[in-house]
């Protein structure tokens, strides 16, 4: 192997986790009395990726993608912006697991996304462009300062391609939102969204109960038990008096 190849290779391995040490397995099952890759829980707290202005815009956006209604909170209370913030800070944001080598050429739709931008860069650029667009067309107001109808109108025009951004693909940004916001609403609360399992309660998804042997034969009967998440459930922890 040539030295140059080897160096790139070494750089690649540094980026991988401790789980990936090569081992020789002989005469035993490599068994450890603990989980190998337990989940990391998102903690509440300051924004980790978004600036305050970006966060304000994002909270407004997620609340239009999934608006509140009398029974179920919207994307903001459900924590969708926090979810996306933590995702963009992590491997998803940096496209860590994707193939990122060039050349980056635009192909057919069937060949899939070819952009050189990371997800984090996409959000950063698109939120800046959205801010610029709103301020110049809406009397100096940012997206978050518009009323709900005006916000919907802007989003609809981004979706349809009527509003374009200069430095970044506005429609591509919208597609990312349509994926990332519902993921925040419906993924396990350990990832920072779906707070209090509101998304799951809305549809009647029981979460990670993992055993329905008693219910598989009960046809056309609604499953009666409330959801459980990987971190359990709020009522398992006695309320402080």
């Amino acid at each position: 192997m040539q030295r140059r190849t080897f160096l790139t290779l070494a750089a690649w391995f540094v980026g991988t986790t401790s789980l990936t040490h090569a081992t020789v397995i002989h005469n035993h099952v490599p068994w450890a009395p603990r989980p190998n890759s337990p989940p990391e829980m998102v903690r509440p707290g300051p924004w980790q990726f978004f600036t305050l202005d970006e966060a304000r815009a994002m909270e407004a956006i997620v609340d239009r993608i999934i608006p509140p209604d009398p029974e179920t909170p919207g994307g903001k209370i459900a924590g969708c912006a926090v979810f996306i913030d933590r995702q963009l800070k992590g491997p998803y944001g940096s496209n860590q697991n994707l193939y990122t080598l060039g050349p980056h050429t635009h192909g057919t739709k069937e060949q899939g996304p070819q952009s050189a931008l990371t997800h984090a860069e996409l959000y950063r650029k698109a939120l800046a462009a959205l801010d610029k667009h709103c301020k110049s067309t809406q009397g100096g107001k940012s997206f978050a300062e518009l009323d709900a109808d005006a916000q919907d109108d802007v989003l609809r025009k981004i979706e349809s391609g009527e509003i374009k951004f200069e430095a970044v693909d506005a429609k591509g940004f919208f597609s990312a939102l349509l994926k990332d916001v519902p993921e925040g609403f419906f993924s396990d609360p350990i990832h920072g969204g779906n707070i209090d399992m509101v998304g799951w309660k809305m549809i009647g998804f029981p979460g990670i109960r993992y055993d329905y042997r008693d219910w598989v034969g009960r046809h056309n009967e609604r499953y009666p038990h409330p959801p459980v998440s990987i971190a359990g459930r709020a009522d398992w922890t006695p309320a402080k008096s």
């Binding site: 391995f13 090569a22 998803y92 994707l98 996304p113 979706e159 549809i203 329905y212 990987i230």
Partner: protein, 592 residues
């Protein structure tokens, strides 16, 4: 400089389903066996315990158990005239990585192919005449028959504890099973799984329409089971986190739950994980493999000499290693010469999404397993007369409720906006009363002259080796087949009382971003003629006789079923040939 390891009798490249089967068989025969696996060792208790296995974002959406495209990927184009571009994020299929291979996170839908599938070219030509097949279709006979494979299918099903209802035992048609299947020597080791509400409705409607529905053969256990190697599996709990996920209950058949516990106890077996084979080495004659070279995650290079090399790295990686090692003649579609890369296929999948009255139907879609379901086989293979329809091939179709996970499975009626209050309302209203089958129409894809694999001229992997280039498109035959099958499938949901039935036909061009299945086939196919196949009927390389290549890469074309039953049966068939013939007289088993 590569460090040279002590010689072994056998080196196995990739410790997935077929690698595990072959490793066990050859270690059992007393050979000194080493398996080299690209990904990490994986265990139920340590890697996917029930406490966190059910994480949809992590495993389904971010594909944590799979190969990362950053590690290696492929390039893709529809037509030979286009420039192929890299698959930067997985779409149409999802390559496995790590010990257990696809067995860790498959559904465990465990099918046999039809007897006529193995003699496809002969069968179709006899029934319809040679002129009935499209000119550029390159289907072939396999060189092995269903009857020859039957004992090996049986071994895999008893290894896995497959839950199902036999349809044909030694020629006697059994009530409630698949009447179209080839004769089997005995019943499945376990009864079918229990079926949730939607499946029973589907079965009833199909019966009323004159079909013979049957429970899908499933590697999710309907009851506790101890397999012939003494390994025990627990009953499936219908948790709904099966496909894409590792099973925390030991109830999904996988190398981990069926073979590896017995294999690692054999003193003459060794595995190395996190080590990627980069080349199969051949001697100066080019006719004998001397072992393999691999690189581990510390970046160290190794050489493992061996007398026998088993390539079991999954379809497309098998082809990649053959091409990079210069073994076999590379396929050239223009000249129509060469074999490696030829007859690459996938599957022709489509779905029908149905919406029922929420006041009357509660399906509890989350009560699910990867391979549960009710299916019909009337429109598979050549089970029906294709004469009037102008296409060949077909598939099984079924309602297979694999999950109600809310990121993936929250269908809304067509015409619903994709965000906002109306979307939210539709999600809520339809979650319990919509059916989006996990399988749907599971159609065949036959082989064509211009669908193939070769090495990409531009894009490289992290070792600076060329990526494999996929050239693939749907042909009219498959599009017609899919239209016909999807329409038939939709009629069943109509008969179940759906108020709205939405058909999602598969259309050309082939789209690399839309998941179908991870059933890639061909590229190093088996056959009877070295001019049109890379392997003989025992999966032995025509060019390098001490190399056997396992996996669906051997399929000359893909049938209308999931592949692994056949992939595993072929692995046992090859192991049998090695044990009973090759070892006595190592050399070419067939004189071509």
């Amino acid at each position: 400089m590569a460090r040279k390891l002590p010689r072994k009798d056998v080196v196995i490249i990739g410790l997935g389903w077929t690698g595990s089967i072959m490793a066990y068989e050859l270690a059992d025969a007393g050979l000194d066996v080493i398996a080299i696996e690209r990904g990490p060792w994986r265990n139920t208790a340590t890697d996917y315990p029930p406490g966190y296995a059910a994480d949809e974002l992590r495993y389904r959406i971010r594909h944590e158990l799979f190969l990362s495209p950053s590690q290696t990927t492929f390039t893709f184009r529809n037509k030979m005239s286009e420039t192929a571009l890299p698959i930067r994020t997985w779409g149409a299929f999802m390559p496995p990585n790590g010990v257990g291979g696809g067995g860790v996170h498959w559904n465990a839908e465990t099918w046999r192919f039809l007897p006529s599938d193995f003699v496809l070219k002969t069968h179709l030509t006899q029934r319809y005449g040679a002129g009935f097949l499209p000119e550029d279709m390159t289907v072939q006979d396999w060189g092995v028959t269903y009857d020859e494979l039957e004992p090996h299918y049986d071994r895999f099903e008893y290894l896995c504890g497959t839950s199902g209802q036999a349809g044909n035992i030694k020629g006697t048609i059994m009530e409630g099973g698949n009447p179209f299947e080839g004769p089997r020597s005995r019943a499945y080791p376990n009864p079918p799984q229990d079926q949730p509400f939607g499946h029973t409705l589907f079965g009833k409607a199909a019966r009323e329409l004159g079909y013979k529905p049957f429970p899908q053969p499933s590697g999710n256990m309907s009851r506790p089971y101890q397999n012939p190697l003494g390994v025990r599996l627990g009953p499936c709990t219908y948790c709904g986190f099966c496909e894409w996920f590792g099973c925390g209950n030991y109830s999904k058949a996988s190398p981990q739950t069926t073979i590896l516990p017995a294999l690692v106890r054999k003193p003459n077996f060794t595995a190395r994980d996190n080590s990627e084979v980069t080349r199969i080495n051949v001697d100066g004659s080019g006719k004998r493999a001397t072992g393999v070279s691999f690189v581990d995650t510390a970046g160290d290079e190794w050489e493992q000499p061996a007398d026998l090399v088993v390539l079991s790295a999954y379809t497309i990686f098998n082809v990649q290693l053959l091409l990079l090692s210069g073994i076999g003649k590379a396929y050239d579609p223009a000249a129509n010469t060469g074999v490696v890369g030829r007859n690459f296929t996938h599957q022709t999948i489509s779905d029908v999404v149905s919406f029922f009255d929420p006041a009357k139907f509660v399906f509890n879609p989350f009560i699910a397993s990867g391979a549960i379901g009710m299916c019909i086989d009337e429109f598979n293979g050549d089970n029906f007369d294709h004469g009037p329809h102008g296409f060949v091939g077909g598939g099984y179709m079924g309602h297979v409720q694999t999950n109600g996970r809310p990121i993936e499975t929250t269908p809304v009626p067509p015409g619903t906006p994709s965000w906002g209050a109306a979307w939210k309302k539709a999600v809520k209203e339809n979650y319990q009363s919509a059916i989006k089958p996990g399988t749907g129409v599971h159609g065949s894809m036959y082989s064509y002259r211009d669908v193939y694999l070769d090495l990409d001229p531009t894009y490289k992997d992290r070792f600076n080796r060329p990526l494999v280039r996929i050239t693939m498109d749907f042909h009219d035959n498959e599009i017609k087949q899919n239209k016909f099958l999807t329409d038939k499938f939709a009629e069943i949901f109509q008969a179940m009382g759906a108020k709205q039935v939405h058909k999602e036909y598969r259309k050309a061009p082939y789209d690399i971003t839309k998941y179908q299945t991870t059933h890639l086939c061909g590229g190093a196919i088996m056959g009877t003629d070295p001019n049109t196949s890379a392997l003989n009927r025992y999966l032995q390389s025509w060019d390098v006789p001490n190399l056997f290549v396992l996996g669906a890469s051997a399929f000359p074309q893909n049938a209308g079923y999931n592949p692994t039953g056949t992939v595993a049966a072929l692995a046992y068939w090859a192991a049998d040939a090695i044990r009973s013939n090759y070892l006595k007289n190592p050399g070419q088993l067939i004189n071509a």
